[in-house]
């Protein structure tokens, strides 16, 4: 019913290895955090297991009640995409909140700085520095 051609298996493994290499490269260049790289590494390893082990894929197909292994792959793809989107939405929301706090804090600091400058200027007008922020 289902047979992955050896050539196709080879190319899929090649893509997976390339992506694992890319993730490791990004980690070394510090362009991706370990936390985020883990998601991709787990996903790639899982994909490699599916490609290599036909039995595992058939087991999964039987488990979720799909007729074809291709449907199982589609389900897994959807599930993974959904998970990643929610995960990153959460991360973006957390970052937005942090950014908001930072900007608010900066606004307060800026006002405080101006008040101090004004005070200093009032006390000693000869040392006024209007060019400062």
């Amino acid at each position: 019913m289902f047979e992955l051609v050896l050539r196709s298996q080879f190319f899929l493994i090649l893509i997976i290895v390339f992506n694992i290499g890319l993730i490791i490269y990004l980690l070394l260049k510090e362009k991706i955090n370990v936390e985020y790289s883990l998601i991709w590494l787990f996903a790639l390893v899982f994909a490699a297991v599916i490609v290599v082990s036909k039995k595992f894929l058939l087991f999964l197909t039987h488990l979720i009640g799909a007729k074809l292994p291709a449907s199982t792959l589609a389900y897994l793809g959807f599930a993974f995409t959904f998970f990643v989107l929610i995960y990153f939405s959460t991360k973006i929301s957390i970052l937005s909140n942090k950014l908001k706090k930072l900007i608010q804090h900066t606004a307060f600091l800026e006002k405080k700085q101006k008040e101090i400058e004004k005070k200093a200027e009032d006390q000693d007008p000869s040392h006024s520095n209007k060019d400062s922020l």
Binding site: K100, I103, Q104, A107, K111
Partner: protein
């Protein structure tokens, strides 16, 4: 084990839960004393006034001076603070040039975040009365003193200047889809809170320090309207609407863009749901201590 907790006890615990993480933790033991305690803690600064008017603005270089002039003329007993939400026009320069006290957001965060910044400032300075006014000249500062008087007289926590209580008198025109949305959410808010609320999206509001202390923690960044009124009512804060006259803006652009107005009703709906679930869970947790 199920223990009976009084309504007052539930409110106390809810407030404590919502305000958890505040630096002045010891102040929250009795919510009734929040205002008094805050005042004692921060103290009265010489020369500082009792009222702070927060004016959140975004690209309002053409309107802001007129708004400030009106405030100075009509509410001389109030301090004011403009919160510039990362304007890209000359708003900041105008404020700087005319020595208007302001806080500047380095990036645009949204109306709610600008209000929250103002509230944080107000609470940190211990202002007993805090007012919100739009920076586009829609609100008459003349209406502010009657609102504050009413709030003090009736011991209210929040008073909202409503556009639609005197609908026949108002010259404020709202596009039909937005008007329908406003009516829908005012009905929802009225049902959920068992109080008549006609204008859930009015930015003309007056709080006391107790309310501001809570809101500065939980104020949403986007357009905090019905959800905040519902939350305050469900937490037994005393809120009331009074009719005010508002006029449509003459210069500049509204913060509500076409795209925002499309997703706004959905966002508001989800926010209300979240507020209801939060309050339900909190009440359930408190009951089952």
């Amino acid at each position: 084990m199920r223990i009976r907790v009084s309504k007052k006890g539930i409110l106390t615990l809810l407030l404590r839960h919502l305000m958890a993480g505040l630096e002045e933790k010891d102040l929250w033991e009795n919510p009734k004393n929040i205002s008094r305690n805050l005042l004692l803690r921060w103290g009265w600064r010489k020369g500082r006034k009792d009222i702070l008017i927060i004016v959140p603005v975004f690209n309002e270089a053409n309107n802001i001076l007129e708004v400030i002039d009106n405030i100075i003329r009509n509410v001389s007993q109030a301090d004011f603070l403009v919160v510039d939400d990362g304007s890209t026009d000359k708003t900041r320069k105008v404020l700087e040039k005319h020595n208007v006290p302001y806080l500047f957001h380095a990036a645009n965060l949204g109306y709610g975040a600008a209000v929250q910044t103002g509230l944080k400032y107000a609470v940190s300075k211990g202002y007993p009365v805090i007012s919100l006014m739009d920076g586009d000249g829609q609100h008459h500062s003349k209406e502010l003193l009657p609102m504050i008087e009413k709030m003090k007289k009736e011991n209210l926590d929040l008073i909202i200047g409503s556009r639609f209580m005197t609908f026949w008198k108002t010259v404020y025109s709202v596009p039909l889809p937005r008007k329908l949305g406003m009516i829908f959410f005012s009905i929802i808010a009225s049902i959920l809170t068992n109080t008549k609320i006609k204008d859930t999206s009015s930015g003309f509001q007056v709080f006391n320090l107790r309310t501001a202390a809570l809101l500065q923690k939980i104020y949403p960044s986007d357009f905090p309207d019905a959800e905040i009124i519902i939350l305050l009512n469900l937490l037994s804060f005393k809120t009331k609407e009074i009719p005010v006259k508002m006029i449509a803006r003459e210069k500049g652009k509204s913060m509500i863009t076409f795209f925002r107005s499309l997703y706004y009703p959905f966002m508001m709906f989800v926010s209300i749901m979240v507020v209801l679930i939060k309050v339900f869970i909190l009440k359930h947790q408190v009951k089952n201590v």
